[in-house]
C-alpha cells in the first residue's frame, strides 16, 4: 500500500516529530520563563482544585519541554507522542468546557467578548489538528532497542 509506506517513511515521521515537538518546545518555553503568569491562567480556568494549581504550573511546562525535545531528537518517539497527545486531549477538554461556560481565561470572569471566544476556538482547532502528527507517530514510529535486534513487528513479518 503506497500511502502506508509513505506514512511509515522516515521523512514523513521526521516532519511530524518536528512539527509536534517543535510547537510544544516553543509553547513550553514561555511557561517555564513565566511560571507565575501560567499559574494565574490555570487559576483563571477555574478547573483545577486550588491546592494543585501551582504544582501543575511548575510541572506541566517541563513535561511539555522534555517530551517535545525527545520527540525532536527521535528518542522514545512513541511514548513522547503519546504523552503530548494526552496533554492535547486535556487542553481541548479544558478549552471546550470553558467555551461552554462562557469563561474568559485572561480575566477568569464570565465575559461575552467575541474576541476571546474566537481566540479560544482557534486554540482548540490548533490542538485538535496537532493530534494528527501525534497519532501518526504513535502508529508508525518504531522504537528500536538496537539496530541488530528486530522489533516485534519485524519478527512477525
Amino acid at each position: 500500500m503506497q500511502i502506508k509506506d509513505a506514512l511509515a517513511s522516515t521523512p514523513a515521521l521526521l516532519i511530524s516529530r518536528l512539527i509536534l515537538g517543535g510547537l510544544f518546545v516553543y509553547a513550553a518555553w514561555d511557561k517555564i520563563v513565566h511560571p507565575d503568569q501560567f499559574a494565574q491562567i490555570v487559576l483563571n480556568y477555574k478547573l483545577m482544585p486550588d491546592m494543585g494549581i501551582n504544582l501543575l504550573a511548575i510541572f506541566l511546562p517541563w513535561l511539555e519541554m522534555v517530551a517535545g525535545l525527545l520527540l525532536i531528537l527521535g528518542i522514545f518517539p512513541k511514548e513522547s507522542a503519546a504523552i503530548l497527545a494526552g496533554l492535547l486531549l486535556v487542553f481541548i477538554l479544558a478549552i471546550g468546557i470553558n467555551l461552554a461556560r462562557g469563561l474568559d481565561f485572561d480575566c477568569g470572569c464570565f465575559s461575552t467578548s467575541t474576541d476571546q471566544k474566537s481566540a479560544s476556538y482557534l486554540l482548540m482547532l490548533r490542538d485538535i489538528l496537532l493530534l494528527l502528527p501525534a497519532v501518526h507517530i504513535m502508529l508508525f514510529s518504531r522504537t528500536r532497542r538496537a539496530a541488530s535486534v528486530p522489533t516485534p513487528e519485524e519478527r512477525l513479518a
Partner: protein, 169 residues
C-alpha cells in the same frame, strides 16, 4: 512493558527538572497558593488565591480614592469596549491579555518603582491580577490592585470618563 517504563522515565525526568528549576532558578513560584483575605464591598473579607511569589497588594475603594486624589497612575485592565464605555477618569488602558512587550511599550517611561493601581470590573474579575502579575514580571515593584474595581468606583460616585482616551476632552 517497555512503553510503560519509557513513559515513566520521561515523566520522572520532567518531575526532577521542574523541582530543581523551581527551587534554584530564581523564577520559582510557591509550591502551593496562599489564601489571603481581602476586603471588598462593604468591608466584607473575601478569600483571594495568590499564586505568585511576590506579594500582591490589594486596596479597597477608600484607599483607591486617596491615591487617585494624589495623582497616582491608574490602569484599566478590561477589554477595549468596556474601557470606552466608561472608566476611572484619567486611567490608562492596558488590557490584561496584552503581551509583556506590548505592555512595556504602553507604559513607556514610567519608573519601575512607581506606584501603579490596577483595576478591572470588580471582585469576580481576575484581569487586574493577571495584568499585575505581568507587570511584576517586567520588574515593576509597586503594583497594587484596587479590588472593588469599576463597580465600587461607580457606586461611590467617583470621577469617571468615557471614550478611548484617559480623559475625554
Amino acid at each position: 512493558m517497555m512503553y510503560i517504563r519509557n513513559t515513566a522515565v520521561i515523566v520522572l525526568t520532567a518531575v526532577i527538572i521542574s523541582t530543581l528549576y523551581n527551587t534554584f532558578s530564581g523564577r520559582g513560584i510557591p509550591w502551593f497558593p496562599q489564601k489571603v483575605e481581602v476586603k471588598g464591598a462593604g468591608g466584607i473579607a473575601r478569600p483571594q488565591l495568590i499564586v505568585t511569589a511576590a506579594p500582591m497588594k490589594y486596596i479597597e475603594v477608600a484607599e483607591a480614592r486617596a491615591k487617585y486624589e494624589r495623582g497616582i497612575a491608574f490602569i484599566d485592565s478590561r477589554e477595549d469596549h468596556e474601557y470606552e464605555a466608561g472608566h476611572i477618569r484619567g486611567a490608562r488602558h492596558i488590557a490584561a491579555a496584552h503581551s509583556p512587550e506590548d505592555i512595556r511599550k504602553s507604559l513607556g517611561a514610567i519608573p519601575k518603582d512607581q506606584e501603579i493601581v490596577i483595576y478591572c470590573d470588580g471582585e469576580e474579575c481576575g484581569a487586574s491580577t493577571t495584568l499585575a502579575t505581568k507587570l511584576q514580571s517586567l520588574g515593576f515593584t509597586n503594583v497594587q490592585i484596587f479590588f472593588g474595581g469599576w463597580t465600587e468606583w461607580k457606586k461611590a460616585g467617583l470621577p469617571t470618563s468615557r471614550g478611548s482616551k484617559p480623559v475625554s476632552s
